[in-house]
Amino acid sequence: MQQWVDSLIAAGAFGHNLPRELIYALFIFVFSAVVFLGVAFPFAGIVSWAERRVWARIQSRVGPNRVGPNGFLQWLADGVKNVCKEDLVPAEADERLFKLAPYLVVIAFVMPWAVMPFSSDLILADLNVGILYMTSVTALTVVGMLMAGWASNDKWSLIGGIRSAAQIVSYEIPAGLAIFPVVLITGTLSMQGIIRAQGWAPTQWFAFTNPFTFIAANILFMSALAEGNRTPFDLPEAESELVAGFATEYSGMRYLFFFMAEWGNLFIIGAIITALFLGGWQFPHVTDDRIVMNVLQLITFNVKVLFLVFVSMWIRATLPRVRIDQLMSLCWKFFVPISFVNLIGTAIWVAIWPQGNPVGGYVMVALFTALMILFVRRVIYYFRRSKMELYLSPII
């Protein structure tokens, strides 16, 4: 991206008097605005609609289907409704912090998009510490949530904020440890470097390199769900106990910001897993045309990410919320030790086969396929047991 701007400057697109830094700053603002308004914001909205439709089907309901074709514009209606609502600040609240908190949460949601590897060329900044940057800025959410919980001056909000802090800080550890096996194999932290070390075929993906990375991928996904406050780890906003947790006192636009960040974070969760373990944008080299290849890579990346987003919706509709002590014991007694075992196992694996073991990938893919066949058989078993007629159309 920087090269492209440099070439534009060299071609004299902005005259010769403007300082280079000003043009860079201008491009940063323009691209941030494009990413935020053109990708992140609509994505968060559409996910809110898609999620409600997915839950509805799982619960034998229909879901929102009135606004626009199949309710597709429901997110716009909800957004307009929330923007039009009164922006209420409780009398006893710490007003400045209360007003600041939602923006911090949104900032933590927007910042990871800078290193989002959409395709081989389409990335705003390929930092050499890309994945480290990604995990650290997503964890900034905790500042906003704790601030919201404290500033609301409300017991529910405070408990929600404290829970969120405990949860996000704890789950950073297994998430970080689950990233290490990949870093061990590739020897780089750059998003593009990690993706380039994988191939388009599932056998070349890091999720199926060896058993340890497969477990690491699952642990990273679950830890990311916990960091994104998703069910079964949505304790900070547990409706049945805390009304809406840290967002209890919020209304209108500010409330919307919290939930936009939550839904938008789904994409970031999916993107981290996709880039690290599922081959990222890798697509077979079918043409030499750079633009066509980039478009194909963009589609590949988004399909993988959206599949993971769908899986997280599906998990949310399936699993009940865990208790706070179960949440902590899951993290410290299970995820952290298993992550260490993964790390050591991968280290031994890399020491034995420094260039990678080609057979390992095939064995892992075969085992995973067997697992999926078993899963499909269970699904068919449960469907037959329900004695209902087949209805596959997503539209009703």
């Binding site: 799982i58 034998s60 599906w314 998990i315 399936t318 899963f375 449960y382 469907f383």
Partner: protein, 189 residues
Amino acid sequence: MGDVGSYFSDIKEAVTSIFEGMAVTASHFMRKPYTVQYPDRMPVRVQDTLPFRYRGILEVDMEICTGCLACERACPIDCIVIAVEKDKQTKQMLISQFDIDIAKCMYCGLCSEPCPTGSIHHTTEFEGADFSLESLMRRFIQDPVVAYKAKKGPETDPRIMPVLNRGMRYVDEWAQAGGEKPAAEEESA
């Protein structure tokens, strides 16, 4: 089984139960939702699916109203207002007003029971939402109507036929094999 054993059996139990749970919810993607999309996406109108004795909004058939005021007297909340006067020249009973305030009506059905001809009866209509209370006042008479006088003799007046048919349908519906018996047979008799 020691502590180590239970540690691993916990992991196994968690993984297998999540696996099974995901399979159960995945099977729901292949089922049809139960939701009835009232009111606009229905195969048939709800009114047509309601049982025959459903107590919906009241309706009066002015053709066969005798002007006996039985319903007005039966109404416990006085939502029926009837005005009957006698025409001096023709010596006929004239009904000049028959109003039912649906906003007050509590659908108890006490008015339709004493009616000698079945003129006042419930329909299966229930959607009474409106923008003003005034439009909930059902006025069944524009110009004064001559009250119906029951004929003597065995022949049935064709104007009462619909009411009788309605009653026969009631009998048919409940008298079918496997159908429930009406609970309040004596009351209506």
